[in-house]
């Protein structure tokens, strides 16, 4: 008789209700608990393809469709408790699965994989803030692998998101508080486990050690990131949050979502500091990314931030609309905004206040950012 072993619980409620399993030759199965049989747990079991299983985990396919897809020709009942260390015996059934009345109702979709507290364990072990990120692109359906471009692009975009989240959090602090913080490189993350077993998972930790109380500056950033992901299932709620975080953080979030859409994957992450009692978990499924990108793409200037510069004009190219201003913070150059003020009549060497919009574009295929300052208003000082 065919047997399977439990590999991962996907939905738990007073016991494993839905779980993944494998047979002795590595075939994939999904089991769902049905009515008990003689006071013993009873599971409906069907074989599934790795790709369909990935789609189910990603929220693209519901449980009924997943089980009906392969159960049409072959399905089983397994009676006995689900034990992780013992095989479950499968009893082949001859009737039609659809007519058995045992299938779940349509619409059972996993929002997320089960939360695993490994980020917390790592954070305590390393005495530092740890962030775990996990993706499920199509190439990861069959084995533990991910395209180089997907991994590089993901890490680049996550780091960028964290950087802008940190910047946004700092801007809300008083000048005195900002001065008291050593902000140099505080947003940086280091990869510590590049390919953890399971789905494609990467562990990162804060590049800088936490303070004496165990708190990392990155907490400010990741709390901002959480606000963007907590309502991922509700595009209108996300829209409201993103509008409240307009600027480079919102732009980085949208670029990350677009990347997830292009690479056909959701994203799950978990983070914790060494003194946390539990990790914080959030996720966006592959099925949620598309509607979010659609809603957020409709906002103009979502990723722009206002920048005010005061300094001596070094260059004013009226024909090409290019300028350069020397301020006490450094030299800035930019362009004029379409329909904005001309550079005509400005005097080289004179001091001006330039009100600009700073926009960030992604350099195609790299995930790297290119900043451009667009002049929208000017006045002599």
């Amino acid at each position: 008789m065919k047997t399977i072993r439990h590999t991962q619980t996907l939905f738990y409620y007073d016991g494993p209700q839905v779980f993944e399993a494998e047979d002795v030759i590595g075939g994939h199965y999904v089991a769902v608990m049905v009515e008990p049989h003689d006071d013993q747990d009873c599971y409906l079991v069907t074989g599934v393809s790795p790709e369909s299983l990935r789609e189910f985990r990603s929220g693209l396919m519901d449980l009924r469709s997943l089980m009906a897809e392969h159960g049409e020709t072959e399905w089983y009942l397994s009676i006995g408790s689900c034990e992780t260390d013992k095989p479950l015996q499968l009893e082949p059934q001859s009737s039609t699965l659809i007519e058995s009345g045992l299938l779940p109702e349509p619409g059972f979709v996993l929002h997320d994989r089960p939360a695993i507290e490994e980020a917390l364990k790592e954070a305590r072990g390393r005495n530092n803030l740890v962030l775990e990120i996990s993706v499920d692109p199509p190439e990861a359906a069959y084995e533990h692998r991910v395209r180089v471009s997907t991994l590089v692009g993901l890490l680049e975009r996550v780091q960028t998101l964290v950087k802008h989240a940190y910047g946004a959090a700092l801007r809300e602090l008083s000048l005195g508080s900002r001065r008291a913080i050593d902000r140099s490189d505080a947003h940086l993350l280091d990869v510590i486990i590049p390919a953890a077993p399971g789905s494609f998972r990467v562990f990162l930790e804060a590049a800088k050690a936490p303070d004496m109380l165990g708190d990392s500056e990155l907490i400010r950033a990741l709390e901002r990131v959480d606000a963007l992901f907590v309502d991922a299932h509700d595009p209108q709620a996300v829209l409201a949050t993103v509008k409240a975080h307009r600027g480079h953080l919102a732009g980085a979030y949208l670029r990350l979502l677009r990347f997830l859409v292009e690479n056909k994957t959701g994203l799950r992450y978990s983070w914790a500091g060494p003194n946390f009692s539990k990790a914080k978990n959030n996720a966006v499924t592959e099925s949620e990314t598309g509607p979010l990108v659609e809603v957020l793409s409709g906002i103009s200037n979502l990723g722009s931030e206002s920048v005010e510069l005061i300094g001596a004009l070094e260059k004013a190219d009226v024909v090409n609309g290019a300028w350069r201003l020397s301020t006490t913070d450094g030299v800035y150059s930019g362009k004029i905004k379409d329909g904005g003020p001309s550079l005509d009549g400005l005097k080289i060497g004179s001091t001006y206040r330039f009100s600009c919009l700073e926009e960030i574009d992604e350099i195609a295929g790299t995930g790297r950012e290119q900043r451009t300052l667009y002049l929208v208003e000017r006045e002599p000082v």
């Binding site: 009515e35 992780t84 059972f108």
Partner: protein
């Protein structure tokens, strides 16, 4: 704190939250009005069963959802819970300990002996 049923040492775990402010959780129940049978732990329902992979501490807690959506749009769609109802349980300060376990919305709740669960449970019609 005295719990509804005897718990092993170290249970609830340190990571569990002490319930100090009112919060809502959702549990599946068989009937309305609800009965104490609807709030039995796995251990209470199956005193002799082994639950491999599940700690005795969790087996003596109650499964609840923090998010109504997970109770209504997920659990109720499963064949095991066909015909079940969703009960909204108002946890008051002192209602024991609770910890997020398994999927994000799922929590394990360890109620104290003196918490009148049935009085705090309201079956939802929609």
């Amino acid at each position: 704190m005295n719990y509804r049923e005897p718990l092993p040492d170290g249970c609830p775990p340190q990571e569990a939250d002490d319930i100090t402010a009112e919060r809502m959780v959702f549990r599946l129940v068989r009937t309305t009005p609800v009965t104490s049978q609807d709030f039995q732990s796995q251990r209470a329902e199956k005193p002799d069963r082994q639950f491999p992979g599940i700690s005795e501490c969790r087996a003596r807690g109650l499964s609840v959802f923090a998010d109504r959506h997970d109770a209504r749009e997920k659990a109720l769609k499963l064949p095991r819970f066909r015909g079940y109802l969703v009960c909204r349980v108002a946890l008051q300060p002192g209602a024991g300990h609770i910890q997020q376990t398994f999927q994000p919305s799922h929590h394990t709740w360890w109620p104290p002996a003196d918490f009148e669960i049935l009085e705090h449970c309201e079956v939802e019609t929609q």
